[in-house]
Amino acid sequence: MADTAPASRFAAYRIRPPISRRYLISRLVNAALTVWGVITIVFFAMHLTGNPAALLVAANATPQQLAAITRQMGFNQPPVEQYFVFVGQVVRGHFPLSIVYDVQPLQIVFQRLPATLVLGGTGLAGGIVLGLSAGFIAAVGRFPKVRWIPVSLLTAFEGIPSFFLGVVLIALFAITLPLLPLSGDQPPVAIILPALVITLALAAPIARVFRTSLLETRSADHVRLAESKGISPTQVLFRHVVVNSLGPVVNVLGVQAGVVFGGEVVTETVFSWPGVGQLTVTALGNRDYPLVIAAVTVLAIGFVLVNLLVDVVAAALDPRGGHR
């Protein structure tokens, strides 16, 4: 047998980049379009109230301040130009000063960003670990009679809206059994409950998809080949079944990124976690609209970036093109 020929053929396959440039560009364009869409929605939403400039200054502002904001955001121009000026200002990060804090809103948002990222990251990691474990047990667990229990439990938790789950967790673990702190003032223990809320919201869909994917991969040809070659069952399971079942999980993560971001807004509010989500809701209550716009824009950009990352990772992991 010619040993070199197949080897070089495989080598040629390996050299090809894992994702096509076309796919990458199309994802980038999509991401940019989404951010643009959010800014557009903000623009139109602001105009629903009549005079958008009045929203961006304090209620007791002088006419001069109002005029300055009107000029800065271009509200004195014809509607079409107004739109372009507004988009331009937002893209460059030029927001009017926050009404409550009297500083650049982006500055406040970036101060709060680490807390959001830590909570989101912890919840995400927990959701992946819990979801993969439950899915694994459900598909290949040793005791068929009981292996469906973890996934069913997670699915049951899915029916509980995250704000109420948060309230129940507070009632159970911070009040009835005073084990954990009530709110986000005392890290690092304080992260446990809010992260658990995000974890439980994420774990169920991951577990279901991983279970289906494992069952499908287990009956694939290459797995039967590996088995018939006499590779030990454990090796087959982990090297050929589990690894090849991870692709769909990454896709689910992309879909569920919205759950993490939406969940952050709610969860941070429930636990007074000092992140961007809570900042947005508080700013909304204070009618601090410059801060609301800045925070929402940052959240949207973060969401788009996460989606982009997930899409690229999914494409790199599974280049067969199952993703759209």
Partner: protein
């Protein structure tokens, strides 16, 4: 060889017939019962609580539930208002807003799906892209933006919930309808001279009806969750008019002494959501649609 191969694969990867447990029949019955009780008492709110949702008795604040008998079987809140009255009136807001939005979202999704099936590549592409954009923005974020500026009226919140929910119906109906439209009997109807609209009404719409019912239940439960989350965040129905999500938020500060103010409305939300989901599953099962919906 290939034939045998295919057979083996199809045998080994065929989904096993779902095993029937005793609870697969009982659970939907329980769910239906719970829903009947909840919806019934919400509809009869003015009979159950003729004094209304804002009957304050400061001297009787935070009375614990007495369960059976007594003037306040489910206790009172911080202003001494009867919890039972607040719960049934809160249900009017939560369930009313959610069901109107779910109906609108399902109708919108259905119309756009049918239009994109019958309307050719251009409309199909346009609506598909619209759905992508919609999914690209988390519903809570979209709601925050719109409600921040549009205020707390009934119309903005219904619009936000409808816009947040139509994609689900659109996606599943579009896939289903495009399969139906490729079937021979549609071809036959077309050759018989049926116009597009008549074709949709007589042949496609009836075939999507079961799916539509399932989509409605899915829409309703996800919209109720979104509605109560927004209400919890202070967007939507404003005090003194109660809404379940808003009641959970109000009671959260007093979880320590008066758990019932926060926990009862939350339990009602969970019971409604889960019951509707179970019924939806049952309907999907009945029409063998489980695969289509997932």
């Amino acid at each position: 060889m290939t034939l045998l191969d295919d057979q083996i694969v199809s045998v080994s990867s065929a989904p096993r017939a779902p095993r029937r447990h005793w609870w697969s029949a009982t659970l939907p019955a329980i769910a239906a019962l719970i829903l009947i009780v909840i919806v019934g008492s919400v509809l009869l709110a003015h009979v159950i609580a003729p004094e209304g949702y804002n009957d304050q008795q400061i001297t009787a604040s935070y009375l614990p539930p007495t369960w059976f008998g007594g003037a306040h079987p489910l206790g009172t809140d911080d202003l001494g208002r009867d919890m039972l009255a607040r719960l049934v009136y809160g249900g009017r807001a939560a369930l009313g807003i959610s069901s109107i939005s779910a109906l609108l979202a399902t109708t919108l999704g259905l119309s756009l799906a049918l239009a994109s099936v019958i309307g050719g590549r251009f409309w199909d592409g346009l609506f598909g892209r619209l759905a992508d954009v919609q999914l690209a923005i988390p519903a809570v974020l979209l709601a925050l933006i719109v409600l921040a500026f549009a205020g707390d009226g009934l119309v903005p919140i219904v619009v936000v919930l409808t816009v947040g929910g139509w994609v689900l119906t659109f996606r599943i109906v579009r896939v289903h309808a495009s399969r139906i439209i490729a079937l021979p009997y549609i071809e036959a109807a077309r050759l018989g001279g049926a116009r597009s609209l008549a074709l949709l009404r007589r042949h496609v719409l009836p075939a999507t009806l079961p799916l539509l019912v399932v989509a409605l239940t899915l829409n309703f439960s996800s919209i109720l969750v979104l509605e109560s989350s927004l209400s919890y965040l202070g967007l939507g129905v404003q005090p003194p008019q109660p809404d379940w999500g808003q009641m959970v938020a109000e009671g959260q500060a007093q979880l320590n002494g008066a758990y019932w103010v926060s926990i009862f409305p939350g339990i009602l939300i969970v019971l409604t959501v889960v019951s509707v989901q179970i019924l939806g599953d049952r309907i999907a099962d009945h029409f063998s649609l489980t695969e289509t919906v997932r």
